[in-house]
């Protein structure tokens, strides 16, 4: 059903059209949601279409490194939004290793994000002094070191959770990881006594950010004098782009490595894989730890960006959100994970919210809808209709619809689409 014979030129035309239209529109009207969506479509098409690699690289670079930062200077919310997309994309890539490659359904993935975020939040704020004494927060420069420390702490937690959980079969694993995710959240919420480690429900704030004097100097030296409030959004935007690049590279290398093939073998048939001499537990643990490490690094970025962490950011809904991204994009597909993350984040943070605001505008307009046989005063529109409240409903529909009609995802990995349609 998914023909591979797309002609190279045929795909490029809509891509170029979207890229040019989106870029101009976004630069002229940086506040427009629609313009951003067209720009995003262009970026995603660049990612999705195959062929003409050099042109696509150039196009992607212009869209990501020139157009968006320029528009973001006028409307820094664009940078916030893309940073958020980037954080989720990196996590989707991590979960993709666990669910997509190794076939292990992890429903507690947000726990690793939490561990990463708390790793920096505790030491990058005065919190650590509450149970260690000494002088905290650490200077913001340690942020870069903690990007790596979080890789280690979250990978360790991944192994710790994985050791008991990964002995179980697929569906039991799902519910145990769900439980473990909840345990991590409850611990974060309760470890304010007897020893105050996480500050419990009060959360930790403010959290140190890396010093970026060098970055604003750098911008200044190329003639860009920007207001101070734009420095950090721009810095985080570029940092997240860099991290996604790295994580993607690791992902690509891994999926083509012997370890990656062992993961796929386990996903396909555990018994056969064991018969071939693949050590099941160790291989699965590697997948768990790798996925966890990606999430942990982004947790550090998240903590520094938000300046605040509290247990409420790491609920089951977060885990399912990331799972939805992976499923939408296509299990096992690297490009799919990024595309899925972008679509779900934009839907959640931008489209649903915009619709809610549109409802509010309708309500305040005082207009009356008159269909002849039926009159409706728009100011009576219930606030309960606002779609932004119903993110669970939206994720649920995406998950079910994808599983029924397109289980291989929007951008399937070649292997998955063969496998999932075998029985037809």
């Amino acid at each position: 059903m998914w023909k591979k014979s797309r002609t190279l030129g045929g795909g490029m035309i809509p891509l170029l059209a979207a890229a040019i239209a989106g870029s101009f529109w976004l630069l002229l009207d940086p506040g427009s949601t629609l313009a951003f969506l067209v720009w995003l479509a262009a970026v995603l098409l660049t990612l999705a279409w195959e062929g003409r690699p050099r042109l696509r690289w150039a196009l992607g670079a212009v869209l990501l490194l020139v157009v968006l930062p320029m528009a973001g200077m006028a409307n820094s919310f664009l940078l916030e939004l893309t940073v958020q997309i980037g954080i989720y994309a990196a996590m989707a890539l991590g979960l993709n290793v666990v669910v997509g490659l190794a076939g292990l359904l992890d429903l507690g993935y947000a726990a690793f994000f939490a561990v990463g975020a708390y790793t920096w939040a505790i030491f990058g704020s005065a919190q650590a002094a509450a149970f260690l004494g000494g002088t905290f927060p650490l200077p913001g420069g340690y942020f870069y070191l903690f990007l790596f420390i979080a890789v280690i702490t979250t990978a360790l937690v991944g192994v710790l959770i994985g050791l008991p959980a990964l002995r179980l079969r697929g569906d039991y694993l799902a519910i145990v990881t769900l439980a473990m995710g909840e345990v991590v959240r409850v611990l974060a919420n309760n470890l304010d006594h007897p020893i105050n480690i996480t500050n419990g429900p009060q959360g930790i704030t403010p959290i140190a950010r890396p010093p970026i004097g060098w970055f604003s100097d750098l911008l200044g030296s190329v003639g860009l004098v920007l207001p101070a409030y734009i420095w950090y959004p721009l810095f985080f935007y570029l940092l997240v782009l860099l991290l996604i690049g790295l994580i993607t590279l690791v992902n690509v290398r891994l999926s083509d490595s012997p370890l990656g093939r062992a993961w796929v073998a386990i996903r396909e048939d555990e018994v056969a894989a064991r018969a071939m001499g693949i050590p099941l537990l160790r291989t699965k643990l590697m997948a768990f730890a790798t996925g966890a490490a990606f999430s942990g690094t982004m947790g550090v970025v998240f903590a520094a960006k938000q300046l605040f962490v509290s247990p409420e950011s790491f609920t089951l809904v977060q885990s399912i959100l990331i799972l939805t991204m992976v499923i939408l994009g296509g299990m096992g597909s690297i490009r799919g994970a990024i595309v899925g993350a972008a679509l779900v984040t934009v839907l959640n943070l931008q489209v649903l919210k915009s619709l809610s605001e549109y409802l509010n505008v309708l309500r305040q307009s005082g207009a009356v809808l008159d269909l002849g046989f039926w009159r409706y005063d728009l100011s009576a529109l219930p606030t309960q209709l606002e779609p932004a409240k119903y993110e669970r409903l939206v994720f649920g529909v995406i998950l079910v619809a994808m599983m029924i009609w397109r289980p291989e995802g929007l951008l399937p990995s070649r292997r998955a689409s063969l496998e999932l349609h075998q029985g037809e």
């Binding site: 506040g31 409307n75 820094s76 919310f77 916030e80 919420n189 309760n190 419990g200 429900p201 009060q202 959360g203 704030t205 403010p206 409030y229 938000q306 300046l307 605040f308 509290s310 409420e312 950011s313 943070l349 919210k353 809610s356 605001e357 549109y358 509010n360 505008v361 309708l362 305040q364 307009s365 207009a367 809808l369 008159d370 269909l371 728009l378 606030t383 309960q384 606002e386 932004a388 409240k389």
Partner: protein, 387 residues
């Protein structure tokens, strides 16, 4: 069916286009927005809705005053779902909307604290009608203010009443594991200890339905008074299950149960409950009677809880916009130096954004009906910085 859908779609489209066309037609008046952020859905939506309606009334009544400055004030209500993640997301949207000149909000301190970190960076002024956690203003941000009192006064006021008027000796303290509930419960417990009361237990719970483990602990420890730090949905179920199991201890809670919803859920168990609040009922303020009538006329329901405080918070921002014009930094400065006679009395802020003189109330529900009776009213200055 299809025809109806199409007609509906066309109707929506036409009205949408009419809206888009509107600002183009009226070029000389600039539209600015006053945001109100509170939970409009979820467990404590009823309290959040009151904040929204209070601000809405203020915008409708006081907004036209800005016409002299060539400004048209619009209300931008936002639903933070009592969730810090959603709240910071909304904060980021608001600061990047150049038309938003001020924020009234939030209801939950746990949401207000991270959100105000964002408002601060963009000089967007926030006036809170309801956040009582001490850290909200203790950070000393120039953009963060509140028209209500603080937990480090509210908690001790409750403890003082429990010790000296109710004459209890042993207390059992429960909180809901949120930044707000835990904070106020801690302030209450500490002040009680200082008054020589015995704190038999200090327990947090996220539970919403089954409070039996807590009730059984109360049975084992036999306290004279149970204090709950948290919001009404849980407070009501807890007291109901206590009374079901014949726990006779007095029950006291905080300003977040100041809602008709508490009485509705608790039923007969709401009888004889005490709570402290920083938002007095309308009957306490001379100017509030007329406000109550206007409110009821406009929204067909009685104002509750924070409605008047939300109105006053909006009043402060609107007055500041009139002074300073559509300039965020100037508005924030004007708010900090504003002095005006609100419905809840004289409003003026100290150097960290606390109201100079805030009222604290102790309210009793002798019959288990809402609203209750004010048994004590205390006016207290905000503690100075770093106290």
């Amino acid at each position: 069916m299809a025809i109806i859908v199409r007609r509906l779609a066309i109707g929506l489209l036409v009205s949408g286009m009419a809206l888009l066309a509107m600002p183009l037609g009226a070029e000389e008046t600039r539209t600015i927005k006053l945001a109100v952020v509170s939970p409009l859905s979820g467990e404590i939506a009823q309290m959040g809705e009151m904040i929204k309606l209070g601000v809405q009334l203020a915008v409708e009544e006081l907004g036209p005053e800005l016409a002299a400055r060539g400004l048209r004030l619009e209300l931008a209500p936002q639903d933070d779902q009592a969730n810090p993640d959603v709240g910071t997301g909304i904060a980021r949207r608001l600061v990047n909307d150049a038309d938003v000149m001020g924020v009234v909000g939030h209801l939950n301190s746990g949401v207000a604290i991270p959100a105000s970190e964002i408002y601060k960076d963009y000089s967007l002024v926030m006036v809170s009608p309801a956040n009582t956690a001490t850290i909200v203003t203790d950070r000393g941000y120039a953009t963060v203010n509140r028209v209500c009192g603080r937990d480090d006064v509210q908690g001790p006021a409750g403890a003082e009443f429990a010790a000296n008027t109710l004459h209890v000796k042993k207390i059992f303290v429960v909180h809901d594991k949120t930044a707000y509930g835990q904070g106020v419960a801690q302030a209450f417990a500490e002040a009680s200890r200082k008054k020589g009361l015995r704190v038999l237990g200090f327990v947090g719970t996220e539970e919403r339905a089954n409070f039996q483990p807590l009730v059984l602990q109360m049975r084992a420890l036999n306290p004279d008074l149970v204090y709950f730090g948290g919001t009404y949905a849980q407070a009501a179920v807890l007291v109901k299950q206590m009374r079901d199991r014949r726990i006779k201890a007095l029950y006291m809670s905080d300003d977040a149960i100041d809602s008709e919803g508490f009485v509705r859920i608790a039923g007969p168990a709401a009888r004889d409950v005490y709570y402290t609040t920083v938002a007095g009922p309308s009957s306490e303020f001379p100017a509030a009677k007329a406000f109550g009538e206007r409110f009821t006329k406009r929204f067909h329901r009685r104002p509750e809880g924070y409605a008047i405080y939300a109105y006053d918070a909006a009043h402060v921002i609107i007055a500041a916009i009139r002074q300073a014009g559509p300039d965020r930094a100037a508005i924030a400065q004007a708010v900090r130096h504003m002095e005006l006679e609100g419905i809840t009395g004289k409003i003026a802020f100290d150097d960290k954004g606390d109201r100079r003189l805030a009222d604290y109330f102790i309210i009793h529900l002798p019959e288990g009906t809402y609203p209750g009776k004010v048994v004590r009213k205390i006016a207290m200055p905000a503690p100075p910085r770093g106290h």
